[in-house]
């Protein structure tokens, strides 16, 4: 089995190089180039009168790539919000245009530009990755279109990205959740933490946040290991975690990374010796995990479908009717974003200036419990929930299902500005303790 024609070898090599290049471009294969999924819930009627000109909201999210399940949740949340609003913000029909950023900043940039220039959207929202949100925000700033970020990041609310006229952040700043949850972790799970983090902005933000919070919370960080986004093989990480002397491994990855890690950790019996704490939880991950892998893990979340709150329960009910299962937390960000926009536009706050004035310090409650939009950095402050995964026996009595398991809310940490970076701190550019990776 050898190639012996030397003349052909060079051509083969060129072809392979081409193949690798193509593979690089298509790394997270799927979706058409545009990925446009125009969804006109509004009827886009007469444009001559200002009052019934459609309110156009561009949603940019990851519909292909490692976080596809979160992206689809976000689309569902936005579409459901429009449906429950009867497709109208006051008199104006709402038109939601969903685009796929493929989890890549350059695609996010392209889609945002297209939404702003061709679709002439009034608002932008959506994101599942810290990498893409900054790209969308950049376009929004240049175009003067308000943008509501819906993924965890430390950088959106700070210079050079933050623009007080444009930028809003509904998802928590990464350190906000970490600071809120660290004391609970250290007190209840163990005092030696090992951080297993995705090697991109969000992972580095978590690493910095845990290292900053650990001391006050009574914890020690015994090590950090990095894995590339989209890792399928976590096996080589297991001995490193075990030999670190940690009591708790904090896992910072989401989506398929989380599923793969928990599946492989389970094969190695990692949970027999260590507590596993998930820095991010979403029902869509649990759907792939099932009872067996959810059981015994702890997680923090900004949402779980059992939260006792009227707004939450109304949303959960509507979502279940539409999709046959409860919503995950990432759908809620978009549901909230669409409601915020629609409500303000209905009240006549439809220019960026009026919108800003109304949003700053605004207290609101849609499907995530009571929140407040902090004035200085437009960071939404919301409660943080600690969840414990239950096994099948216990869970089934409480509405859990074999499809998505069940997590019990064992602690509610109320929204508190003290967990967020201070208004002075957010005036400075975010600088993680470790060097940022080049890609």
């Amino acid at each position: 089995m050898r190639v012996t024609t030397s003349s052909a070898a060079v051509r083969h090599l060129l072809a392979i190089v081409l193949a690798l290049l193509l593979a690089g471009c298509g790394g997270s294969i799927g979706g058409g180039a545009g990925g446009g999924d125009g969804d006109g819930d509004g009827d886009g009627g007469g444009e001559d009168t200002a009052s019934d000109e459609p309110l156009k909201v561009g949603v940019i999210t990851g519909l292909t790539g490692a976080y596809v399940s979160l992206g689809e949740e976000q689309r569902n949340g936005a579409e459901l919000a429009v449906k429950l609003l009867d497709g109208k913000a006051g008199d104006r029909p709402i038109e939601v245009i969903v685009r796929d950023d493929q989890l890549k900043p350059e695609a996010a940039l392209r889609e945002a530009q297209s939404l702003v220039q061709e679709e002439k959207v009034d608002f932008l929202t959506g994101c599942v990755s810290a990498a893409t949100t900054l790209a969308v925000n950049q376009v929004a700033k240049e175009a003067g279109v308000p943008y509501i970020g819906t993924c965890q990041t430390e950088q959106l609310n700070r210079p050079p990205h933050f623009s007080p006229d444009i930028t809003y952040h509904l998802a928590p700043a990464t350190s906000l959740n970490v600071t809120a949850a660290s004391p609970w972790i250290c007190e209840n799970l163990g005092s030696k933490l090992f951080l297993l983090m995705p090697d991109y902005a969000y992972g580095h933000e978590q690493n910095a946040a845990y290292r900053a919070a650990a001391g006050d919370a009574g914890c020690e960080i015994v090590g950090t290991a990095w894995f590339p986004l989209g890792t399928t093989d976590f096996n080589p990480y297991i001995p490193r975690v075990e030999n670190s002397g940690a009591d708790v491994v904090v896992f910072g990855g989401a989506g398929r990374d989380q599923v793969n890690f928990l599946r492989q950790a389970n094969q190695f019996g990692l949970r027999d010796n260590l507590e596993i704490f998930l820095n991010i939880e979403d029902l869509t991950f649990d759907e792939e995990l099932g009872f067996r892998l959810v059981e015994g893990t702890h997680a923090m979340a900004h949402f779980y479908w059992t939260i006792e709150d009227q707004g939450v329960q109304d949303y959960v009910e509507a979502y279940e009717q539409e999709h046959g299962r409860p919503p995950g937390g990432y759908s809620v960000f978009l549901y909230n974003a669409l409601n915020l926009i629609a409500e303000q536009v209905a009240q006549g706050n439809d220019t960026p200036e009026e919108f800003r004035e109304a949003m700053e310090g605004l207290e609101f409650s849609y499907a995530q419990g009571p929140e407040v939009m902090r004035e200085c950095d437009h960071q939404a402050l919301a409660p943080v929930y600690i969840l414990e995964g239950l096994g099948a026996d216990e869970a089934e009595e409480r509405g859990g299902s074999a499809d998505h398991g069940f997590r019990e809310i064992i602690e509610t940490i109320p929204a508190n500005e003290e967990y967020a970076p201070t208004c002075e701190e957010v005036q400075e550019e975010f600088a993680p303790a470790t060097p940022k990776p080049s890609s």
């Binding site: 050898r2 190639v3 051509r11 083969h12 392979i16 590339p228 093989d233 096996n235 080589p236 990480y237």
Partner: protein
């Protein structure tokens, strides 16, 4: 030290799966001089077929036998319809065809099975850990995977060297008129080689399911690494793929231990080194 030995063992396990994927790719390339870019997508299809077979019969062992057979038939059908017209054309055409095919397959699977992944249960019989006498105990399933890969490597080697298939196909690629004039039904041999390559990809899919679950993009993620393995080992070199697959698994595992932040790029650094100083690959001939 104990940590290092654990890491080496785990590196060989990861490497074994890479070997399997690279071998199928390299078999088709080395014998047919055809770059099958859809290899990763076919591996994914194998994993999905395994998930469905498991769902239907509930027995991993049946899936392990059945899926490669089903995939071989899919491979044969593919060769007969889409691939065969590509043989006389240049390789870039073949590359573009199979690249497009990859997208079609992935989108097709999304439409049928949804874009979310699903988990695949491994065999109950192997849900325990084995102590190797060094390092930490390893899940029995992973060791089983290594054994299966070893058997497949041996089987393929015998297939290529103890039957005349290898000889005929290689001869036919050089001069297909002569080989036909000798009364050999060359097309049949070619279809067998392609089908075997696809069956090996399918087998890799079955074995991977219980480790990572199955999802539409699983082939795209790993195909790039499989190409790196083939290039590093030497294009068309059987043992080159085996050695380089294990080597890359090992290097990634050891990097994970000491400098995990670089674990994702070391295979590519190795490829650059090999391309620079030994362009024909570790065991490749010029």
């Amino acid at each position: 030290m104990e940590q290092l030995t654990s890491q080496i063992a785990l590196g060989l396990v990861s490497g074994a799966l890479l070997v399997l994927l690279a071998l199928g790719l390299n078999l088709i390339f080395g014998m047919l001089e055809f770059i099958n870019f859809s290899h990763g997508a076919l591996y994914m299809v194998g994993a999905y077929v395994a998930a469905y077979v498991l769902g239907a019969v509930g027995n991993f062992w049946i899936a392990l036998i059945l899926v490669p057979i089903i995939m071989a038939m899919i491979g044969a059908a593919l060769e007969r319809t889409l691939i065969r017209p590509m043989y006389p054309r240049n390789q870039v055409d073949a590359l573009l065809l199979t690249f497009g095919l990859t997208y079609v397959i992935i989108e097709g699977v999304r439409m049928i099975a949804g874009s979310g992944g699903r988990s695949v249960a491994g065999p109950e019989e192997l849900a325990f850990q084995v102590s190797l006498g060094f390092g930490r105990p390893l899940p029995a399933y992973l060791l089983f995977v290594v054994v299966v890969v070893g058997l497949v490597v041996l089987g393929l080697w015998l297939f290529l060297n103890r039957t005349n298939v290898g000889l005929i196909v290689r001869g036919g690629i050089r001069d297909h008129i002569m080989i036909r004039a000798l009364g050999v039904r060359f097309d049949r041999y070619r279809i067998v080689v392609f089908a075997v390559g696809v069956a090996v990809a399918g087998l890799a899919g079955v074995l991977t399911g219980p480790i990572t679950g199955v999802y539409p993009e699983m082939g795209a993620d790993i195909l790039i690494l499989a190409f790196v393995v083939v290039v590093v080992g030497g294009m068309g070199s059987f043992w080159g793929s085996v050695v380089s697959g294990l080597l890359i698994g090992l290097i990634v595992a050891i990097t994970t231990l000491y400098a995990s932040i670089y674990a994702g790029i070391v295979p590519f650094l190795l490829m650059i080194l090999v391309m620079t100083f030994r362009p024909r690959g570790l065991l490749g001939t010029t």
